[in-house]
C-alpha cells in the first residue's frame, strides 16, 4: 500500500523533478561513499583540495550547489569517476540500416579475485561480461 496523499502528489510530479532528485541523491551518495572508502574525513579532504572544511561541508550537506567544476575537482582527488556519461556508438550493418548502441564502459577486472563475505567465498562467474546496454 501507498499513502493516497503520496500517490496523488507523485502522480503530479514532473518526470524531470524525479530525475533531478535521483541524480542529486546518487551523486551525493557516490561522493560520500568514495570519501569513506578512501578514509577521508571532511577535514582531511578539505586539506587535499586546498579548501576550507566549511566549504566542503557545504558541498556535502547541501548548503552549496554542486557544480561540474566542484565535482571534477573531487573526482580528480578521489581517483574514481563520480558521474559516468554513456556514449553512443554508431555502425552500419548494411548500407541502408544504421544502428546505434549506448555503451557503458566498465573497468578491466581480474576474474580470479575472490570476495570474502562471512563464511562464503564469492567468485566472479566465468560468464560475467562487462555491462553493456544496446539499443537502437
Amino acid at each position: 500500500m501507498r499513502s493516497k496523499v503520496a500517490r496523488r502528489i507523485l502522480a503530479e510530479t514532473p518526470e524531470e523533478t524525479k530525475i533531478f532528485v535521483n541524480l542529486y541523491a546518487d551523486i551525493l551518495v557516490r561522493i560520500k561513499q568514495l570519501l569513506k572508502e578512501n578514509g577521508h574525513t571532511q577535514k582531511s579532504f578539505a586539506e587535499k583540495l586546498d579548501k576550507r572544511p566549511s566549504e566542503i561541508n557545504k558541498w556535502l550537506t547541501g548548503n552549496h550547489n554542486l557544480t561540474l567544476k566542484s565535482i571534477a575537482k573531487m573526482q580528480a582527488e578521489l581517483g574514481e569517476p563520480i558521474i559516468h556519461v554513456p556514449r553512443r556508438v554508431a555502425f552500419s550493418e548494411k548500407e541502408s540500416i544504421k544502428r546505434q548502441f549506448t555503451v557503458y564502459k566498465n573497468h578491466q577486472f581480474d576474474p580470479t579475485v575472490k570476495f570474502e563475505e562471512g563464511q562464503k567465498t564469492l567468485r566472479i562467474p566465468k560468464t560475467f561480461q562487462p555491462l553493456a546496454h544496446a539499443g537502437e
Binding site: M1, S3, I9, V21, N63
Partner: protein, 173 residues
C-alpha cells in the same frame, strides 16, 4: 502525549518500508498532514514534490535509508535513551537552501518511521517555527524506541515490517 498508531505509509518502494504515526481520533497521519499542507501551496509545491520524490524514489527505490542520505541530530535528542543503531533525524534533501524539513526515525536501513515537518525558517531547529514539530517527533520517537527495547514492538527483518509483540501488525502505543 496521546495514544497513537504506528501504521504503514508506504511498502511499495523496493528498498525501504515507511511507517508513520497517527494520533488517536485524528483524520490524517502526521506525514500525510505535512505533505497535504504544502501540496497546493504556490511557493512550496515544487519543494514538496522534490521531497516526496527524494523519500520514495531516492531512498525508497534506490538507496534505502543509508547514512549518506540521513542527517542525524543525536545531540539534540538528549532525552532519548541511547540505543545503538536507532537515529532520530531528518530526511534532509540535499539541496541548497531547501526550505522544508521532514523528521524521521530510522529503525534499520529498510525500515523508517516518518513524522511531520514544516518550513525551516530559522538557523537551528530551536529557532525555527517548526520547533514544536521537532519536539513532537522526539516524543513519538521516545515511545517507539522504548517499545522496541521492552519488546512491545519487534522487527521482522525478512518481511521488512514492524509487528506488535503478539505478532499482529496493529501497533498502538
Amino acid at each position: 502525549m496521546n495514544t497513537f498508531e504506528l501504521e504503514i505509509w508506504d511498502d511499495e518502494a523496493k528498498c525501504c518500508t515507511f511507517y508513520t504515526v497517527k494520533d488517536e481520533g485524528a483524520d490524517l497521519n502526521e506525514t500525510d498532514m505535512f505533505f497535504e499542507k504544502y501540496e497546493n501551496d504556490v511557493i512550496y509545491k515544487e519543494h514538496i514534490q522534490q521531497l516526496l520524490s527524494f523519500v520514495l524514489n531516492a531512498i525508497g527505490d534506490r538507496h534505502g535509508a543509508i547514512d549518506e542520505l540521513f542527517n542525524r541530530y543525536e545531540n539534540e535528542v538528549a532525552g532519548l535513551p541511547s540505543h545503538g543503531h536507532l537515529h532520530l533525524g531528518e530526511l534532509h534533501y540535499h539541496f541548497p537552501n531547501f526550505p522544508l524539513r521532514l523528521y524521521a526515525l530510522r529503525i534499520t536501513n529498510e525500515i523508517v518511521i516518518l513524522f511531520g515537518g514544516g518550513i525551516k525558517d530559522g538557523r537551528t531547529n530551536q529557532e525555527s517555527s517548526l520547533h514544536y514539530k521537532w519536539v513532537d517527533a522526539c516524543n513519538y520517537a521516545k515511545r517507539i524506541i522504548q517499545s522496541l527495547k521492552d519488546g512491545s514492538i519487534v522487527i521482522n527483518k525478512q518481511k521488512r515490517i514492524l509487528l506488535s509483540f503478539d505478532g499482529s501488525s496493529d501497533i498502538i502505543l
